[in-house]
Amino acid sequence: MTVPPDVRGLRVRLRQDHPVALDVAFECGAGELLALVGPSGSGKTTVLRCIAGLATPRQGEVACDGEIWLDRRGDVAVSPQRRRVGLVFQHYALFPHLDALANVTSAMSHLPREERAARARALLARVNMEGLEARRPSALSGGQRQRIALARALARDPRVLLLDEPFSAVDQLTRRRLRLELVQLRREIRIPMVLVTHDLEEAQLLGDRLSVLHHGRTLQTGRLENVMRRPAGALVARLLDQRNVFAGVVSHHDEEAGTTWIDWAGTRIECALATRFAPGDRVDWVVPESHVVMHRRERPSRGERENPVRGIVRDVVILGGDARVTLDVHGVDTPLTFEVSVHVAKRNRIAAGAEASVSLLADGIHLMATEATG
């Protein structure tokens, strides 16, 4: 069955209440990598299984590259064997009794028998596994197994590549190398790729698009920078490890100046014009740590007039060359968090109990509708 030509790439809609609640919707274009992030138990793996046909939701559609793989209303549910999906399992799920080459050729039933070995060798070479074709999985390291799993997934000539936490079981050095290889691979194959990860750093390094999942529900999907900079709500912001999420009330708009003013526990905060909120609306707002600038004691600058905020340092945690500072602002329960280099913290005598002031850069502040829950 075919779908209209505008639905290329991967399109996923999943809905069910049991056994795992799902309300998922996202698209991923050819050549794009969508990072599916969310805490453990948020249903990320279930989503991949539904795309691969290993699980079937009560309602939903999965379409890829012009083919419908699942349409519960139309009663279409194509078997995993006929979906042409490349899936790299979290623990690789290699065939333990077969050597690396046979693991890869076993996924080539669509090719003539005489072509399989040569093609498998080429794939193994592409994932830097030349010379290890005759090794069984038990004689390979974690990183090598991951590469075989990737080669096996590619052996299907898949329409979509699904990666389930593929770097979670290897050491950091190998992880960095494998990520680099994945980036290189992306340049060569133009298919949609979905990467499930709970590692935000990994999602930011590899993803073009980001989809945030929580309790089986898609909270937001979009371009990576867009979701990171403009989360749809306080919950998304927190799931994306944004600490500076606060509540405020819209005070007024100044359309000429292109600014909106909010009241934050008695402090007036200036931010970019956001007329979708009316004066008096309660909003949540977020400011990235990168947009919190500490004032220097001896050297005031012009930037200090931008949303100046004073507070008492609650804690300073030193991590390598950086100091993470939490600042209690009068009248606000949640402390403001920001990072400065250790020497700046020392020079400005930043320590628990000391007074400090910062500026919240207006162009980094993002207003969000308040959520009923979460």
Partner: protein, 220 residues
């Protein structure tokens, strides 16, 4: 030495082990992977012959094999023979008595294969039967062979059930262990000793083989 009981026992063991192979595969795999209503009951039924006295099982089988019962009646209608005290009756009884030996090793072997490995096979394009033939059996074969060997050897030495449903008919139902009993009753200790030695040797080889197979399992 009268070899007829030995040959009869070998025949019975071969038939039972061969017929139990597909049955054990089907039931063992289902119990290893599927969750279904009444699974605990099925597992209990499969293990029952381990604890049930052979005479009790033999009694119920004898009743079921009688021409007045559905099973015995159907057999007589089909073949014109009585199922009880016949070789086919012995094979049927042996199959039931050997359920745990045929099923449990296979269940364990299949349960040791992670579900993800089978799913990886499906996603790789392998159909259900191809997954069984190319992935599952090559991994689980030591368990499958162990089940075959255990069933075969266990049938060789079967006594209680065979005596109950087969009686002691020379060349028809007088198997090795019944012949041993028969010889001891007749104070022919030499013949009993020889037949016992055959059974001892066969059992020893079988248990050694099963131990060796356990060490051959593919690491998953």
């Amino acid at each position: 030495m009268n070899v007829a009981p030995i040959l009869l026992s070998l025949q019975l063991a071969a038939w039972t082990a061969l017929l139990m192979l597909p049955l054990g595969l089907f039931v063992g795999r289902a119990l290893a992977w599927r969750g279904f209503r009444g699974k605990a009951l099925v597992e209990a039924a499969v293990a029952l012959p381990l604890v049930l006295p052979p005479t009790v099982l033999g009694y119920y089988l004898l009743v079921a094999f009688s021409p007045h019962s559905a099973l015995g009646g159907a057999f007589e209608w089909l073949t014109g023979e009585v199922l009880a005290f016949s070789f086919p009756g012995l094979v049927t009884a042996s199959m039931i008595f050997n359920l745990p030996f045929a099923v449990l090793p296979m269940q364990q072997a299949f349960a040791a294969i992670p579900h993800e490995v089978r799913e990886a096979a499906w996603v790789s394009g392998l159909s259900g039967p191809a997954t069984l033939a190319r992935i599952e059996l090559p991994i689980a074969w030591p368990g499958v062979l162990a089940a075959f060997v255990l069933t075969f050897t266990h049938t060789l030495g079967e006594f209680g059930v065979v005596l109950m449903v087969g009686g002691n008919i020379p060349s028809r139902t007088r198997t090795l262990s019944i012949a041993i009993y028969d010889r001891v009753q007749a104070f022919d200790m030499e013949a009993a000793g020889l037949l016992s030695a055959v059974l001892l040797a066969a059992s020893l080889v079988a248990t050694a083989l099963v131990r060796a197979l356990a060490g051959r399992a593919v690491r998953v």
